[in-house]
């Protein structure tokens, strides 16, 4: 008598919200990768001098590129938030018999994020 193996639909990730959110989280890395690629190209143009860089920048001043950056930013924020939020499962700090509460693991990461963002904003905008 043969055990029955149920097939798995290629659309398995649409069957549950948590699976869909997971696949979206994985997908964000594509945009982060694409943005980093763009960033490297941008840097290489910058290395060739101001004129070259400004020409490159002006060529990219279209709605399509703006949209790409907005989507990449949303993806990066989603990735970061979901990453921070699950980190207490991976990082366990103990004090005697007690576990340090998750907020103490997540909090400092958000604080560091905020501080870094403020510092970068200050350097760029000053």
């Amino acid at each position: 008598m043969k055990p029955y193996r149920r097939p798995i639909s290629p659309l398995w990730w649409t069957k549950k919200t948590s699976y869909t959110l997971f696949v979206l989280r994985e997908l964000t890395s594509v945009f982060i990768w694409a943005f980093l690629l763009f960033y490297l190209v941008q840097l290489s143009h910058l290395a060739q001098g101001t004129d070259e860089y400004l020409a490159f920048r002006d060529q990219r001043a279209s709605f399509g590129w703006l949209l790409f950056h907005i989507v990449a930013l949303i993806a990066a924020v989603y990735h970061t938030v979901t990453f921070f939020n699950v980190s207490p499962q991976a990082i366990v700090v103990r004090m005697g018999e007690e576990k340090v509460p998750p907020a103490f693991i997540v909090g400092p990461q958000y604080a560091a994020w905020l501080l870094t963002s403020v510092a970068i904003a200050w350097i760029v905008l000053r």
Partner: protein, 248 residues
């Protein structure tokens, strides 16, 4: 007042007479204090004695009554009908496992995986009984207690899409149990377990979907255990690159 009822759509597979599974609808009395397992036992007693499923303790301890209830892995002895009223309630065997008959799945793969991580206390050398027990402080116990609550119900495997797609994945409960023994101050078996636990089929196959921990009825948090073992695995890798000759 007419007695209230609820419909159960039960997955049936009779390998002796059919090639493919089917769903069969049954109507059972609805009782506020009934769990899905009570309804199945009612069916087996009153309607259809051929319906097959596993159970034992009826109190969320033995881990044998796991089923998919409306698509989510649950202990059928803890899934109350009232959570699903007015129904229908779809009852299927645990996902990702081969079905032997009706709601019964084959567990050989899981048993072999469990064994592969040596989920017992390993000592380099057993200390003679005359030297007394291995003592442990409450703080040392607290490091692994959570992971020792596992009842081997396999709900986590049914929730894990990675296990569904890559059946060689060692999986949540087995890695969580390896972690439980690795954290135990009395254990010295970490180096024996690492060949399995740090392998591609174990921690590195996990993409942290996290559903195993959501469905776990005992708050074991296998997903957390896997990430913690991943960190140890990464450290081990770095060490082996930096000090290939180092003491292991």
């Amino acid at each position: 007042m007419a007695e209230r009822t609820i419909t159960l759509e039960v997955f049936r597979y009779r390998p002796d007479s059919e090639q493919e599974p089917t769903f069969q609808s049954y109507t059972v009395p609805y009782r506020e204090d009934w769990v899905v397992l009570d309804a199945l036992n009612y069916l087996k007693d009153e309607t259809d004695g051929s319906l097959s499923f596993r159970w034992s303790c009826r109190m969320g301890v033995c881990g044998s009554c796991g089923m998919m209830v409306n698509g989510t892995p649950r202990l059928s002895c803890s899934a109350f009908l009232k959570e699903y009223y007015p129904g229908p309630v779809r009852v299927e065997p645990l996902a990702n496992f081969p079905v032997e008959r009706d709601l019964i799945v084959g567990i050989d793969d899981f048993m072999n995986k469990l064994k592969s991580v040596k989920p017992w206390i390993v000592r380099d050398k057993e200390q003679p009984v005359s030297e007394g027990e291995y003592r442990q402080s409450p703080a040392q116990l607290a490091t692994f207690k959570q992971y020792s609550m596992c009842i081997n119900c396999m709900l986590c495997y049914a929730a894990c899409p990675v296990y569904g797609l890559q059946p060689d994945f060692v999986g949540p409960a087995a890695i969580a149990l390896a972690h439980r023994y690795n954290l135990d101050s009395r254990d010295q078996g970490q180096s024996l377990r690492k060949e399995v636990v740090f392998s591609h089929e174990a921690v590195w196959e996990c993409t942290f979907v996290g559903e195993c921990s959501v469905v776990c009825p005992k708050d074991v948090d296998p997903a957390g255990a896997i990430q913690q073992e991943k960190a140890l695995g990464a450290l081990d890798l770095v060490k082996s690159v930096l000090m290939p000759w180092g003491s292991r």
